[in-house]
């Protein structure tokens, strides 16, 4: 039994109570199912025993159910954020609060799930953005001790472009699936969800060049296959030498066997082409992330049936590997038949951006239903979370009630449910807001309030 499953069982044992058994009916709602039923103009969602029990325009509210009147607001599945560092990092500029880097001793074996902090103040912030689940993922490179300005100070003053990658592994490590549920002792519901690797410029910084990175990757995959077939010999000291550590080889076995997706961060059209070719040759299951120039090779990505995670605001020639970035990338990829997931920013503090990025994609040609799916059911499909991501009978009751269009700037969630449990609608930021917004002028400093 996996560690995650044990913990999940422990968590459910702790949390099983009256709230779990509660039956809730969300009425008077515009329902974006993100599933086959599409949009329901006015209807009811019933939650029972942590699952969606009914969805539709003419659903009867069960007797005894707690009724939440959405007042014409919108109900969606909980948003699923991909490739975030949620729960792994608290303050970007404080190294001690960052657990997203593998370091230099291991690479592929790095498992972020051991470092997820359920007490992170970013978790309630994520809930405030409608995010109920996230794929929290390692960052590539070796990590650094400060923020962007520190990189700036280091690199610009010295006139170098070190990229802070010397000694780092090509593999960033393994991502984990977490919920944003309040009160859980462990937010991880599935560890080892995907192996993460940065190629393109980032891979070249580690390996020396793009060509070196691909050769190194291929030889590492070969080593993992060889190791898998010769474990006993390795233990007897009778195997050949491998260029990476045993734990990294172990971690890569599910990847070479096609059981664990390899999430490849890549940007340039030619790099995407090379990765698709490599995945075909090596029989890997891959997910692409970044893909600013994906629109240039959209048909090839679609033909390979490879999903893509994108930031829909990316329209700048940020690096030489993303000169072709454009705002209708999402619309073009989707039109070509690619399954897309829309992300906010990898940085926790921009997690709220996911829903706005979905709106930006709509403004640039992506059909609205596709944008909703890109932050819900597509993400579930991409990461194999089939029982979440849509408002359909039998699915996990991750549900968000919004004050209006969830992709708009002036709306916010009014209620969030995870596994059928209603979540507290607060966060450190909202506590600060309320302390200062309701300033009682009684001569005592606010610290007393």
């Amino acid at each position: 039994m996996s560690r995650a499953l044990l913990l999940a069982l422990a968590a459910s044992a702790v949390l099983t109570g009256t709230a779990f058994a509660e039956t809730i009916a969300i009425t008077n709602a515009k329902i974006e199912t993100a599933g086959a039923a599409g949009e329901i103009a006015l209807g009811t969602v019933v939650i029972k025993d942590g699952k969606i029990a009914a969805v539709g325009a003419s659903v009867t509210t069960p007797s005894g159910a707690r009724v939440i009147d959405a007042k014409g607001g919108v109900v969606t599945p909980g948003l699923i954020a991909a490739s975030t560092n949620l729960g792994l990092s608290e303050v970007e500029g404080v190294r001690a609060t960052r657990d997203e880097f593998a370091g230099t001793d291991i690479g592929a074996a790095f498992d972020v799930s051991y470092g997820v902090n359920p007490a992170s103040t970013m978790i309630p912030l994520a809930r405030q953005s409608g995010v109920t689940r996230a794929v929290t993922a390692p960052s590539g490179g070796r990590g650094f001790g400060g923020d962007q300005d520190e990189i700036e100070a280091d690199t610009l003053t010295a006139g170098t472009d070190s990229g802070h990658s010397a000694g780092a592994s090509l593999f960033a490590g393994q991502a984990a699936g977490i919920t944003t549920a309040a009160g859980s002792p462990d937010l991880v519901f599935k560890s080892k969800m995907a192996m993460v690797i940065d190629l393109g410029d980032a891979g070249a910084r580690i390996a020396g060049s793009r060509g070196s990175a691909i050769v190194l990757l291929k030889s590492t995959l070969e080593a993992a296959r060889h190791y898998a077939a010769n474990r006993a010999a390795y233990d007897r000291g009778q195997s050949r030498d491998y260029h990476i550590a045993r734990e990294d080889l172990e971690a890569l076995i599910p990847v070479v066997e096609g059981r664990m997706p390899l999430l490849v961060r890549v940007h340039r059209a030619s790099d995407i082409h090379q990765v698709l070719r490599l995945a075909h040759e090596e029989r890997l299951k891959i997910i692409l992330e970044g893909c600013e120039e994906g629109w240039l090779v959209a048909a090839e990505i679609a033909a390979a049936n490879v999903p893509v995670l994108i930031d829909t605001e990316a329209d700048l020639p940020e690096q030489f590997e993303s000169l072709g970035a454009r705002l209708d990338n999402a619309a073009r990829l989707q039109a070509a038949g690619v399954t897309i997931g829309i992300e906010g920013s990898h940085d926790f503090n921009n997690l709220r951006q996911a829903r706005f990025n979905a709106g930006t994609a709509v403004a640039n040609g992506l059909p609205y239903p596709a944008a909703i799916k890109a932050v819900t059911s597509n993400m579930a499909r991409i990461f194999g979370l089939g029982d979440t991501g849509a408002l359909e009978v039998g699915k996990t009751a991750d549900v968000v009630v919004w004050s209006g269009d969830p992709l708009e700037t002036t709306t916010w969630p009014t209620a969030v449910f995870i596994d059928g449990r209603e979540q507290p609608m607060t966060s450190r930021g909202l506590q600060l807001r309320d302390r200062y917004a309701k300033h009682p002028d009684d001569g005592y400093p606010l610290a007393y309030h």
Binding site: E313, L316, A363
Partner: protein
């Protein structure tokens, strides 16, 4: 709209606009808090010094060569208008001519017979967006070390450097920002130094030279920085400042030197004017800028996150007699909103980008709204080449956060956060920032309510010239850099 009118009309429009420009260039723009007395020295007698040795002889050695784009008499009819000056007009009329706003009025306002008509029905019109905190050009894309020219991290006081000498005019980010409705930007040096250098105010037009973008008549500002960045940069080099108190000593020493330098020049000019023998001080670019602040000619744009640090900076401004125009980032503005209102200091902040370092830990979505409620001037800024393209939506998020707690901030108020308020803070509000007759015709026609995530700038006018048209590739300029590259600079 047809392009046909452009050629015959442009000569006339250009002449009108140029005339206007020349007038503005001569406008005496000074800070709100000019130093007492200190009349400008007699330029004739000061010329006795060799060229370049007396800053008062030529305060603008890199003069603007900006020329407005060709424009003509144009009327946008039927759009919802947010004037930036507090009004919302449903289905109104905006007429521009000669690079200026001619008329702003309600439905039915007479439109000149020969005006080019733009149907604004279902659309929105606002003043051009002003980004008061940009590093476009000085930290351009692609982000490569050889073009990273925003932080002169060799001394904590580099008040003598000017951002305009680091701007790469071909930065493709300018084109993206324009497509987001941004018509004016303040390009700032970075925040690694206590005194980072002079800012540059530019009109967002394509130009081969930086002088060709320089906003005629805009005053200079000096970038200062509180907090973590300067002490980390220099502490890391084993020199001062390495602490917050080291920062403050650094500012005060800078102002002491500046006051002394100003006194020497004032004495010299006074003696020279009386015909007395006088030795001219040696000109110092760093102290020129600081003395310019003490004279009230140069504004202070102060990067400062924390409430306590803002209060300290205000005390320093009182100690040496200058005014801080705006705290940038100001994540904790809401904690000292009443103080900011009392001091007449704006904050420039994000909607909710926070938590990325200790000094931004307490940034909240309602920062802008709560500070606005207290009566202080609020600006939504970008500090980022992506966010600058979405300042309208950033303002929408900030407005929504206020209305979530019942502050009832209207679109007519919130639009000022990205138009008239930044214009005031950077000192160009007499010329642009609102739709009022006589002001420069910096105008955006939006496809929808500009605070909506779905809104896009359909047409952008700068000084009455069509600078961007989403529907017409002829008005989608591309940087030299992007020719021959993947995508050819097409980003939408």
């Amino acid at each position: 709209m047809q392009r046909r009118w452009v050629m015959p009309a442009c000569a006339v429009a250009a002449v009108l606009a140029l005339g206007a420009c020349a007038t503005e260039g001569g406008t005496n723009v000074t800070g709100d808090h000019a130093a007492n007395g200190a009349a400008p020295a007699s330029k004739e007698k000061s010329k006795a010094l060799p060229m370049g040795l007396d800053a008062s002889v030529n305060a603008d050695p890199f003069p603007s060569t900006y020329r407005p784009l060709p424009g003509r008499l144009t009327a946008i009819v039927g759009a919802n208008i947010l004037t930036g000056a507090g009004q919302e007009i449903d289905g109104g009329v905006v007429v521009m001519d000669g690079g200026k706003i001619l008329v702003v009025g309600p439905a039915g306002t007479a439109v000149p017979a020969n005006a080019v008509l733009i149907d604004g029905k279902g659309k929105w019109v606002t003043p051009g967006v002003i980004d008061a905190h940009s590093h476009l050009g000085v930290y351009p894309t692609p982000a490569v070390p050889s073009r990273s020219d925003g932080n002169e991290l060799t001394d904590p006081n580099t008040a003598g450097v000017w951002a305009e000498h680091s701007i790469w005019p071909e930065d493709p980010g300018f084109d993206r920002a324009r497509a987001g409705g941004v018509t004016t930007l303040e390009i700032l040096p970075g925040s690694g130094n206590l005194f980072g250098g002079r800012a540059s105010i530019i009109k967002n037009v394509p130009s081969i030279t930086t002088q060709g973008m320089k906003f005629p008549g805009a005053p200079y500002s000096l970038k200062m920085a509180c907090g973590e960045n300067p002490k980390r940069v220099y502490g890391g080099k084993g020199r001062a400042p390495s602490t917050a108190m080291g920062n403050v000593a650094g500012y005060r020493n800078g102002w002491i030197n500046a006051a002394d330098y100003k006194r020497k020049w004032d004495d010299y000019h006074a003696k020279f004017d009386k015909g007395e023998k006088a030795d001219a001080p040696k000109r110092d670019l760093t102290l020129d800028t600081l003395a310019g602040v003490l004279r009230g000619d140069i504004r202070i744009q102060n990067h400062c996150y924390r409430a306590d640090e803002m209060a300290t900076m205000i005390d320093i401004s009182h100690e040496f007699g200058f005014h801080i125009v705006m705290f940038h980032h100001a994540s904790e503005g809401y904690k000292v909103a009443a103080l900011l209102a009392k001091e007449g200091i704006c904050i420039a902040t994000w909607a909710d980008w926070a938590g990325f370092k200790m000094e931004s830990l307490d940034g909240i979505e309602a920062n802008a709204a709560l500070t606005h409620r207290a009566g202080a001037c609020v600006v939504i800024h970008s500090d980022d080449a992506t966010i600058t393209q979405h300042l309208n939506q950033e303002a929408g998020i900030a407005m929504g956060a206020g209305n979530r707690i019942g502050l009832n901030i209207t679109p007519a108020e919130a639009i000022a956060w990205i138009t008239l308020n930044p214009a005031k803070a950077i000192g160009v509000d007499k010329m642009t920032g609102s739709l009022e007759p006589g002001k420069q015709a910096d105008v955006v026609l939006w496809s929808a309510n500009p605070f909506s995530i779905y809104a896009k700038a359909d047409k952008v006018f700068i000084d009455g010239g069509l600078a961007f048209d989403r529907a017409d590739p002829r008005y989608q300029p591309k940087s030299d850099f992007e020719l021959g590259q993947p995508g050819e600079g097409a980003f939408q």
